[in-house]
Point group: C2
């Protein structure tokens, strides 16, 4: 089932509502203009994973959009309320609610109204275990922007997780229609950016030194919360860390490439544009364990 | 008042609904992903202006997004229903309903459902007469894309009028915070593109030849329905027409620049980046009359 809890200053713990009936006004700027932001996080047995990182990024997206959003404590309480309701509905005999996808959404509100619309939605998480094990095929797709756009043009909202995801969805459709499962965006000046819904991570071993790399954030990509947690855990386990400018050749020369995100976690990329990548099941398991322990 | 009519195959003339209460599901892809398209058109005394051009462009946007939308006749009937309801509520003693803004919206529908969500919304049109007379100040803002992106990368959805308008809204906020009223986007390779919600048109007279110009569509801009109507009327009145690649210097060298759109119509640009532009009240009235007669 889908649990829905609105953030509402009259309800300190959030206002539960029926997700099975219409709840949004037709002229909410979230739908008429894609004018809002969101986060997706994982909860395991009703415990949210890295909520602080997600609430930090929500605040950062809000700042980029100049959106006045409810305070952190209101989110924490609404998330707790939603997860409790979800557990009531979904928990097994031992009281385990399993893996849930928690979505936080804030829109600029109804046209002409001064208040944002904000809610928490909880659903059973989609099962991505097969993809995490078998891996996926990916296409490189041009994102159109050069890697310096973010610094030059703040109105492009690069680095904000907005509701205006039509291009991300179109890129996924294009990839699927062309024999792949997912995409990696590149900048118009040839740098590796990110997936439509994930962060790119690559591993390489040179002369006994093991390094995890990800594209530099100033290229206008989202700050990956799962990539960040993985990097911290890997560093503690002896890995070196690197923040690119990365080009496609770096992906092909790596010992492994992953698309990393909060719900699907670490998915190994087995081919890019039809060209096979190195893959080690042992390395895949090692990084998955590191990330899992860190979250 | 706001009139709302859903397109619904069970209701050939559309299904009227109360716009004052929530009507959209929380997990409609229109709000969660900005995944949908729209049109805004003017109606005067319940007669829609250039409905065919708007329905053509809606179909073209749908094709770019691979969105299966209701047939044209369903839109025409729903628009007629909505305008009749609006006239009932708003008409004066002489039966005139005045100027109304008609919005057509289609989203990819509720997550997991196969059907789009589609509706027609009618409100009283905002009064832009003062802007049409006095003109506006504009900033040039980089859109990040180069002018060849549209041809190279169809997944960028350039040329589609999508619900993912967060960047357009951010550009308008940026312009207003920096002493202007509106913006004109430029490409990363320095070409003039379009306004966040309008088409750019410029007029120039050289050796007795009067020409209207607008940026070329293949640069990834929306096909302007009002610009197109104006151009046809102007051609019949003896103007030459041109479709640029245009650069900012062309704007400064023109005899007049306008932002053109369906509801606000022709708004003269009085300055760009603080630099004053030539302005002729006579030319402004002449073009406004041409457009008005054509619509």
């Amino acid at each position: 089932m889908t649990v829905l809890v609105f953030l509402d200053s009259a309800f300190p713990d959030g206002r539960p509502a029926d997700a099975g009936v219409p709840q949004l006004m037709i002229n909410d700027l979230g739908v008429t203009r894609g004018d809002g932001i969101f986060e997706s996080l994982l909860a395991v047995d009703s415990v949210p994973r890295k909520p602080d990182a997600h609430l930090d990024r929500l605040a950062s997206s809000a700042q980029l959009l100049e959106l006045d959003i409810p305070p952190r404590e209101a989110w924490e309480r609404a998330i707790a309320t939603a997860l409790a309701l979800h557990a009531e509905a979904e928990a097994d005999d031992a009281g385990h609610a399993g893996r849930a996808a928690v979505k936080l959404v804030v829109t600029r509100g109804v046209e002409g109204a001064a208040a944002p619309t904000a809610w928490v939605q909880v659903t059973v998480a989609p099962d991505a275990a097969a993809q995490r094990e078998a891996g996926i095929k990916v296409l490189l797709l041009d994102r159109g922007y050069d890697s310096l756009s973010a610094a030059r043009a703040p109105w492009l909202l690069l680095g904000a997780k907005t509701l205006s995801y039509a291009v991300n969805m179109a890129a996924l459709r294009y990839a699927r229609q062309h024999g792949a499962d997912d995409a990696i965006f590149t900048s118009s000046d040839g740098k590796v950016l990110e997936g439509p819904t994930s962060t790119v991570v690559l591993a390489r071993e040179r002369n006994g030194v093991r390094t995890l790399l990800t594209p530099e954030r100033r290229s206008g990509i989202l700050a990956g919360t799962t990539q960040d947690a993985l990097f911290k855990a890997a560093e503690a386990a002896g890995w070196e860390l690197g923040y690119g400018p990365l080009v496609p050749e770096d992906l092909f020369a790596a010992d492994g490439v992953w698309l990393v995100s909060s719900i699907r976690l670490l998915v190994p990329v087995r081919s890019i544009d039809g060209r096979e990548l190195p893959f080690s099941a042992a390395l895949n398991s090692e990084l998955a364990r590191l990330a899992d322990a860190a979250l």
